[in-house]
Amino acid sequence: MSIAAAEPAAPARSIDPAHVFWILAAIVTAAIVMLPAEALPAWARKYPAAWQLPFAAWISSFTKWLMDSASFGLFTVRDLTRAISWLLDQPLSLARAVFATGFVRGQGSDAVTVFPAIPWFSMVIAATAAGYAVGGRRLALGMAAGLLYLAVFGQWTSAMVTLASVLVSSVLGSIGGLLIGLACVRWRWLERAAAPFLDIAQTMPVFAYLLPMLILFGFGPVSAMVATVIYALPPMVRVTILAIRAVPEEIEALGRMTGCTRRQITWKMLVPTALPALMVGVNQVIMLSLNVVIIASMIGAGGLGWDVLTALRSLNIGKGLEAGIAITVLAILLDRFAQALALRAGAVEAEDAARRRKAFVSSALAIAVAFWLLTALFPAIAPYPEAWKLSTAPYWGQFVSWINVTFFSTLEAIRTAVLLNILVPVKRFMLALPWPWVVFLVTAIGFRLGGWRLALTVGLMAAFPALVGLWPATMITVYLCGVAVVIAALIGVSIGIVAAGRPRLWRTVEIVIDTLQTLPTFVYLIPIVMLFRVGDFTALIAIVLYAVAPAIRYTAHGVSRIAPELIEAGVMTGCTRRQILTRIRLPLATPEILLGINQTILLALSMLVITALVGTRDLGQETYSALAKADVGRGVVAGIAVAFIGMIADRLVSAAAAGMKARRGPPQ
């Protein structure tokens, strides 16, 4: 595309016909909101209860029927789910026994420890050796420091419970995702069939499917694990499909020319060749698992998540913060370890160095196991000595009180200003919009961006919340999410632009957003609640922090990816730096930036649901309180509504980005 083409040919003041649609839509929307309440028929202002479809009740009675009376003849559905539950419990119990509880015989207070869990010092030695094996000295040091932190601050047992769940779910999620991905590559129809499920599994808030899991598998770690695996598996499926497709065609031709069977081609050629990319997927699975395991502590996963939850409920800031930091430490350790593993999959090492490393690691592991056996003989040495423990909880509590006492008026002023000037007006505006107009508008935008199919899809999805009677809660969700996304996009795009041209700054920014993204959603809430108490403003900050990363990343990527010749062409035509940014970089990076904002919207939605814990009044609260009341129908319907908001945004933004890309032709 030529640079000149970016300038409209017509005089600057005239309206581009392509923009008429958007301007018209904005004017009509504003007019409708300003109409007096009586001007619209009552059914348009408030969706009549009589028109509601009792979806929630249907789902509830269906699950009730499923669990109480459905039967396959020989056995009931309940038998089946309990059998699956038992089966899944085996690896999980094993992992928990090894890492946290030890092998126990008997129940409750009569329990006798048959064999202890790995003691903390064995774990530190083994993890350090493993860190050294995959990532060298730095990672080894990091692993040792991180685990020691967990021991010193008394988070050991909780952390190990969490770790056991994460490990088992990650293994199941990675293997399952790999197999499903491979099947999708082999059978195209399966890929098409799986796509909507993958979308829903990723956009539906975790809360919403904790509940069905609870009904199917009962309260406890297994339900939590199934929910975790379902949530963490889709990215692995996607990564597998992409990675296997990206293997050069010649490799497969080679396989066939050397007379490989299909199985040999898959396992000896495609999978090993794609391994570095696949490991990126494994990393994602681990991080998502950790995130969900924390949330799933509500349905009995236990561990660090439970500690944070109880601390948040009792507003014990210090304790919550400590557990939160422990989660952060665990997250960073897992992430760095998985990343090192992914890097290593592509790395090459000289033979003798590899042998030396192997010898070192295996002797360290042997020592760790020896210590473990020793604790079986002398149980007294196993626990971390109480006297060596530290707790910073009281200090954190004091620190927070000090901040609140000293800066109360400032913090309160910020909070009130944002609430009164931004949040409340936007909320009023959204609630004033009549539902038929919103549905119409969404449909019209869908038609404009992607034709009839898209219009129909997004229109139906937009009508769903009205249909099931969740319209006000949905609008509050859209308002909070919308404000958060706008703020996150403004911040993210500017940081992205600034950082794109400066490699040193970018490295710092990258570390910050990497860390922000490894943290489980839960953790965000703790410090913000401390400063601003509960409410929409707290939720807003948490959402913005969590969702800003992709906006930064995609913007920086889009801006720095532009072909250098185009920049040179700009410089040669005498552009100033500013002109290069506004006339060349930004327009060319727009599709990428849109995709980043798309991700931001999805992340914002997933965080939004978590913020139900700090008392928002939206769909997140719906699912959360449905969970508390074990009301399956209500929880699932609200969850689907959230998923639909995410999918509408995703479809529309993707269509806009695709349209823009198509108009520009293939990338330069």
Partner: protein
């Protein structure tokens, strides 16, 4: 065995939907206009050829000419829409998958344009890979692989990984791997197109050297006419999915069948292609300065003939069959159309 190792009879490969309606009795029954009207592309059509044991057969064409599709039909990687591909007289599309796997394992080797080395295996592992697929014991396959690696001049680099090697070295690994099973037919699909010109020459010499030792049947794909001429016993020139002409380099230069072929041969290094026989004139009992064999390339003796006032005799089986003089040399070197014997 005297019959062709590989043969094509009316081979066509179409891409599009509802292809069966264009095939009658195993032959393509539609003309190009009809195919184009129905939105079907014919990557390859009407190909008849025979490749004989021990010959180096080069398929030359520009990108999109269908040469890669054709070689994939020949190696059985894809099945032609119409026509048959005969390997040692047997139709590849009629034999079972199991037999095809056996043929590929034991009788065929292939070198790929982008090397297709497995990144997670060492040089040794890559070369031994096809032997492992056959289930040979480890000691045997390592020994064989080491021999092959030495053969292509990479001895001492067995423990390296592909990304540690230069492009030329990587392709040497590809060559060693394709030869490890001792194939009868050796397919090379644009093996040197991804390499720099100097390396490319070196690798062509390598192929000539290996062919001198191993005497394989080679099917070599290239888009470079000079490369084709350097390596080939016979060349097939392809355009738009059809074969324009098959012949030795000399035949193509002397008698291009179409203008398309002529556009390549016009710039060809004639002195290296033409033999004494094709530029000589009838001898009329004159005095000779010396003699050259009838099959010798012009480049081999051009200097001597030019330096001499008198013509040279062209000899075959100790008999003088013609004469060659400086004028003929100059004709060849400046690329004048030859009116000499065809």
């Amino acid at each position: 065995m005297s019959g062709p190792v590989l043969a094509c009879r009316g081979v066509a490969k179409l891409y599009g939907s509802g292809l069966a309606r264009f095939v009658k009795n195993g032959r393509l029954s539609a003309d190009p206009e009809r195919l184009a009207a129905d939105g079907v592309t014919a990557a390859v059509r009407d190909v008849d050829l025979e490749i004989f044991r021990g010959e180096t057969f080069v398929i030359m064409g520009l990108s999109g000419s269908g040469k890669s599709t054709l070689v994939r039909c020949l190696s059985g990687l894809i099945e032609p829409t119409a026509g048959e591909v005969l390997f040692e007289g047997r139709d590849l599309s009629k034999i079972s998958e199991r037999e095809l796997i056996q043929i590929r394992r034991l009788q065929m080797g292939m070198v790929f344009q982008n090397f297709a080395l497995l990144p997670h295996l060492t040089v040794l592992g890559n070369v031994a890979f096809p032997l492992g697929i056959q289930g040979r014991p480890k000691a045997e396959r390592d020994k064989r692989a080491r021999e092959m690696i030495a053969l292509v001049g990479l001895g001492g680099r067995e423990g390296r990984f592909p990304r540690e090697l230069s492009g030329g070295q990587q392709q040497r690994v590809g060559i060693a791997r394709s030869l490890a099973v001792g194939p009868d037919v050796w397919f090379l699909d644009e093996p040197f197109s991804a390499l720099d010109p100097l390396i490319r020459r070196e690798m062509q010499d390598e192929v000539l050297r290996l062919q001198g030792m191993l005497k394989k049947t080679i099917v070599f794909i290239t888009h470079d006419f000079d490369e084709a001429v350097r390596l080939a016993d016979r060349v097939a020139i392809m355009k738009d999915g059809r074969i324009e002409q098959i012949g030795t380099a000399e035949e193509l230069v002397l008698a291009p069948a179409t203008d398309y072929v002529r556009s390549f041969t016009r710039e060809a290094p004639r002195a290296k292609i033409l033999t004494a026989r094709s530029v000589m004139r009838p001898a009329d009992g004159e005095d000779f300065a010396g003699h050259v064999p009838a099959g010798a390339r012009i480049a081999a003796f051009a200097h001597d003939v030019e330096a001499s006032q008198k013509p040279f005799a062209v000899v075959e089986d100790d008999k003088v069959i013609g004469a060659i003089d400086r004028l003929a040399m100059i004709d060849v070197l400046v690329g004048r159309e030859l009116k000499a014997a065809r």
